[in-house]
Symmetry: none
DNA sequence: CAACCTAACTTGTACCAACAAGGTGATCGG
DNA sequence: CCGATCACCTTGTTGGTACAAGTTAGGTTG
């Protein structure tokens, strides 16, 4: 795999300092000139990194003043319920069965999400998850081939916690990005989820990330009438509903 | 007024062509070299413009191939990305207008969310938000009466940032909880959002929290075919698809 | 003293050059 | 005819320079 580019390394270093708190909320980052010297990179490269952070909403830039850590929303990320060995919960679902294991060449979209070359081989684990009597979901997890080589994830068996397996091989999940959309189901989805007519589906794409790279992409289709998705952010100690 | 910078002009020109359809969905943009000549700008400047479009989700870039018009262009709602003076998000939130201001006695559900007694008076601000030409959303923000007493939020006028107003009065947002559901629209929603038949809606309930209490509940209905909800968690420095 | 002005910082924009690396198609050799 | 190779396209990354424009501190001037 190709090395991580310089500006991504710089962005990662700065991001870590922001999250650790060495750069306090609202605090000013070193000037671009100082960052040049510290990372031994050109101003162009430093600015690429800063642009990435600005784009992720972590910093704001004020011409003539400097770059500052965004402080509108606090960065206390102890939400979303750490669970078990994984830092974040794998699933709220009661159980899951592996339906199919498949080798698949990555199309453009998947390659972009996993940050591998288009056409690269990936391992797909398709699962049916169920919880309670009504709701179910169809789920496909995509792994870059080099990550799962020689792990139980290559075997057609149920795995307790895929993220733990990856963590044992040096790829620890440190974050994720979820994308949610809704649309009407296609006939296959409708029959698999046993959907009544007129019920849309909730489509979720989760990208699990280690510090260095995307380690898994999970695509899940939920039955729209039996799912409510909840996200918590920041300090939610004041949130208690009866 | 300072002139619009070169790369923004280029981005605007290309964006217009994409939206007008002269550049078809999925179609390939001229190469960077061709754009250099066409706009008489350096490659760096052209790339700044392209980066802006890529960031707005209008195009995708494939190394060795070219830049292509994104064929599905759902607007991405960045759930937990702070809204600041982010220059890249200018198209995300083109504007909003206050449709109605109303006093409402809280029903059981709302009272539970706001943690006020049932029947308590609340202030409702209904808004129509638009972004670009396609997507829109209907949004209702509910405030406990005692929080907005004597603030601009009691006036039937557009407010730049309601959370800033609350913060100035001692109620600073420190977190939020989002709940997401999908269903088919009712006739009112369908007409307000100008939904084609067979398009579901994404229904979001956001509860904004200060350290002590819920300070606002926002209920938003998005057109399902033109919204993508994105939630980021943890260290996502390895994300960034470009 | 107060108002102004300048020097010295900051980020924003724009240019150039070079090489790396992905992708495609033509060409050449078997 | 088929396969390997190479030329030539593409975008990605990194280095440099220069100037514009916003901001601030400190000194100068009236």
């Amino acid at each position: 795999m190709r090395a991580e580019s310089r500006y991504r390394q710089i962005a990662r270093a700065l991001r870590r300092e922001i999250q650790e708190g060495s750069l306090p909320l609202g605090g000013q980052l070193p000037s671009e000139k100082q960052l040049e010297e510290r990372f031994d990179a050109s101003r162009n490269t430093v600015r690429l990194a800063l642009g990435m952070l600005r784009n992720q909403g972590l910093i704001v830039s004020r011409p003539g003043r400097g770059h500052f850590v965004q402080d509108v929303v606090p960065e206390t990320f102890h939400a979303n319920r750490p669970k078990g060995a994984d830092r974040f919960n794998e699933s709220n679902m009661a159980g899951q069965t592996l339906e199919e294991l498949q080798l698949l060449s990555a199309n453009a979209d998947l390659a972009s999400r996993l940050r591998v070359p288009e056409g690269e081989m990936t391992v797909v684990r398709r699962m049916y998850r169920f919880s309670g009597e009504i709701s179910g979901s169809i789920s496909s997890a995509y792994y870059p081939m080099d990550l799962v080589q020689g792990t139980p994830l290559m075997l057609p068996e149920d795995v307790e916690s895929a993220l733990s397996v990856l963590a044992e091989h040096g790829h620890r999940q440190v974050g994720f990005v979820d994308e949610l959309e809704t649309r009407m189901p296609n006939p296959t989805e409708a029959s698999q989820l046993e959907l009544p007519p007129g019920v849309p589906i909730l489509w979720m794409h989760r990208t699990d990330l280690s510090e260095e790279r995307p380690i898994r992409v999970v695509e899940t289709v939920y039955a729209g009438h039996s799912i409510r998705y909840q996200y918590e952010h920041g300090d939610i100690s004041a949130y208690h509903r009866d």
